[in-house]
């Protein structure tokens, strides 16, 4: 059987070469994500059957069921799904652009920049009684600005007749370290109550997500992801190196800036609402590569679903296994992610 199927519609105005295996994987993951979504909405301190959850989705169920599912669980599950997808797609874009499988939003300093912004926000807008002088709703905005400013800083510092991937990574690592130091410094200088609040945020959690958050994160993430999918072709060619990409007619620097902007937007949006959930941006594209190979047309959507599943799962475990204690989702992504990272290095030690 042939591995690929060409598809041409509208008199050849639209044409794609579809990897059949990747398509099957994609469908499988969509089903998996949907099942997890349902299960997650039903599980917690009060267990609700999947059938009832479905009824609630369509306006049925008891008032209690509706309250638990709609007000408490759905917003955080949707945010978890979006955050996972955003981080995974951003990670995939960065890995392709930088041509290094170890690239991730954390390495390029974006997460670090957001963390400093949040800690700085908490320190700056607290009065003597440790009460915030402005609404906590502004915290996501601070995180987004922090991520964007640092991404821009790293980008401009790496510039020398264009941006080379290696310089981007090295400068990113340098800035990241600096950001960590700044974060720690501000946490020590600030009041202890703020430090623990900041710490939970830095670890990453979708606890306390609201429908207002959903209303922002869903359109922004979906839009940026759609742009990323449209640019899959240029990531593919960039992954062959600057010389080949230029030779094949890609405007490498121009595209690289766009791709960086898209990934910054995705990361900024996700850290804004869920903090520094780590390792998803690194792990998800890798798992996806194992499943469907290196072509980004398939790799990006598959990574997105894997990322969404990872964060939803981490959140589900975090709020059920240690109940009534709630463990931030970031703890679980890191505790799956770090060993996976080591396994990855271990596996490639001979390569």
């Amino acid at each position: 059987m042939k591995k690929y199927q060409g598809i041409r519609i509208l008199n050849g105005k639209v044409s794609f070469l579809v990897d059949k295996h990747a398509l099957r994987v994609l469908v499988g993951l969509i089903i998996g994500a949907a099942i997890l979504f349902l299960a997650s909405a039903g599980m917690g301190e009060m267990n609700i059957s999947p059938l009832t959850v479905l009824k609630v989705f369509f306006g049925g169920g008891s008032e209690m069921d509706r309250l638990v599912v709609q007000s408490f669980r759905l917003p955080r599950i949707i945010v978890a799904l979006m955050v996972g997808m955003a981080l995974a797609v951003a990670g995939g874009l960065l890995q392709g652009m930088v041509r290094n499988p170890l690239a991730s939003p954390d390495i390029l300093g974006m997460t670090g920049g957001a963390a400093v912004a949040v800690v700085g926000f908490l320190a700056m807008f607290s009065d003597e009684n440790n009460a915030l002088t402005v609404s906590i709703k502004w915290m996501p905005a601070a995180a987004f600005i922090g991520a964007a400013v640092i991404a821009l800083l790293v980008y401009s510092l790496a510039w020398k007749d264009g941006v080379s991937p290696v310089r981007l990574v090295l400068i990113g690592i340098g800035i990241s370290t600096l950001m960590q130091a700044l974060t720690t410094l501000m946490m020590i200088l600030g009041p202890i109550y703020r430090a623990s609040q900041a710490n939970i945020w830095i670890t990453g959690t979708v606890h306390g997500s609201t429908w207002n958050n959903v209303a922002i994160i869903v359109p922004v993430t979906l839009l940026l992801m759609a742009m990323a999918f449209m640019m899959a072709r240029t990531v593919n060619i960039q992954e062959l190196g600057d010389d080949i990409a230029t030779g094949a007619g890609s405007m490498v620097q121009h595209q690289r800036f766009l791709l960086l902007a898209i990934s910054t937007g995705l990361v900024g949006c996700s850290v804004a609402f869920a903090g520094g959930i780590g390792f998803v941006g690194l792990m998800a594209p890798h798992m996806a590569r194992r499943l469907v190979g290196s072509a980004f047309g398939a790799l990006l959507p598959v990574s997105a679903l894997i990322g969404g599943i990872l964060v939803m799962l981490a959140d589900l475990i975090g709020r059920t296994v240690f109940s009534p204690l709630e463990v931030p989702a970031g703890v679980f992504t890191a505790s799956i992610g770090a060993p996976y990272f080591i396994y990855l290095l271990y596996k490639t030690r001979n390569a």
Partner: protein, 274 residues
């Protein structure tokens, strides 16, 4: 149509303040194989990169079909000229088809990624390079010679009249070197494509090239048919090496035999042909 495919006018190239090529006027004939020869660091690869617009000139210009490349869009250039850089690396797990398909980049858009013409050119390129049986294999699982064929197939899929290659035979053993050069020679013979490449091996350059350009001290030392320009004087001046230039007993092309040490098992058989 102009007789030259590529020309440079007072082209000066530099890395920082170091001048690599100085005010060079170069003409590359259409429909022929041209090879840049020169010692290490002579700037032949730099010159090739600059012609491929991978390096901006310090001054002067490169003309493609008589038009300055700095005035053309990178996509337009990509439809006329393909470049295969030295020792490219394929991403892990990418299949042959997925790689070769990317040669179609300058003809595609995000909605149009596999037109009938794309399919035809990609399949043609796979067949011409003899790798059509390998399409679904990951590139990183292939041998060095096969892998180089895949990259050449990608440049062929780009469907350009001009193909530039920077040392396409590096890291290949002798069998595969000949295989790759034969393939390029055939492409030129059958389809009349203009091929411009850098080769390290002077003898292979003499065998396959219609035209060699010897580069020395930032300029063209000499240019022409190998049988007219390659002699011991040129080798001495360009490579700084003493040698005899004999006639290749099979092809009749110049064959450079360096002086120096080595076992001598038969005395007095030197041939001064060129």
């Amino acid at each position: 149509m102009m007789t030259q495919a590529i020309a440079t006018e007072k082209l000066t190239l530099s890395y920082g303040d170091t001048i690599i090529i100085n005010e060079m006027d170069l003409r590359i004939p259409r429909g022929e194989i041209t090879v840049f020869i020169g010692g290490n660091g002579s700037g032949k690869s730099t010159l090739l990169r600059s012609i491929a617009r991978l390096l901006k000139p310090r001054s002067g210009s490169v003309l493609l079909d008589g038009e300055e490349i700095s005035r053309l869009s990178t996509k337009e250039i990509a439809r006329k000229m393909a470049i295969l850089p030295q020792a490219p690396l394929a991403p892990e797990g990418l299949t042959v088809l997925q790689l070769v398909k990317q040669g179609r980049f300058p003809y595609q858009s995000w909605l149009k990624q596999w037109s009938e013409q794309d399919e035809e050119k990609v399949m043609g390129a796979l067949k011409a390079t003899g790798i059509d049986g390998l399409q679904d294999r990951p590139v990183d699982s292939l041998s060095g010679g096969q892998r180089q064929r895949v990259w050449i197939a990608m440049t062929l899929a780009q469907d350009t009249d001009i193909i530039l290659l920077d040392e396409p035979t590096t890291y290949l053993d002798m069998t595969h070197q000949i295989e790759i050069l034969d393939l390029l020679f055939e492409l030129n013979e059958k389809e009349g494509r203009t091929i411009l490449m850098v080769l390290h091996d002077l003898n292979l350059a003499c065998r396959y090239a219609h035209n060699v350009v010897a580069i020395k001290d930032q300029r063209i030392y000499d240019q022409g048919k190998p049988e007219h320009v390659v002699n011991s004087q040129l080798v001495k001046n360009v490579f700084g090496m003493d040698c005899d230039v004999a006639v290749d007993p099979l092809f009749g092309t110049p064959l450079c035999i360096p002086y120096g040490k080595g076992r001598i098992i038969k005395k007095g058989v030197t041939a001064h042909a060129y």
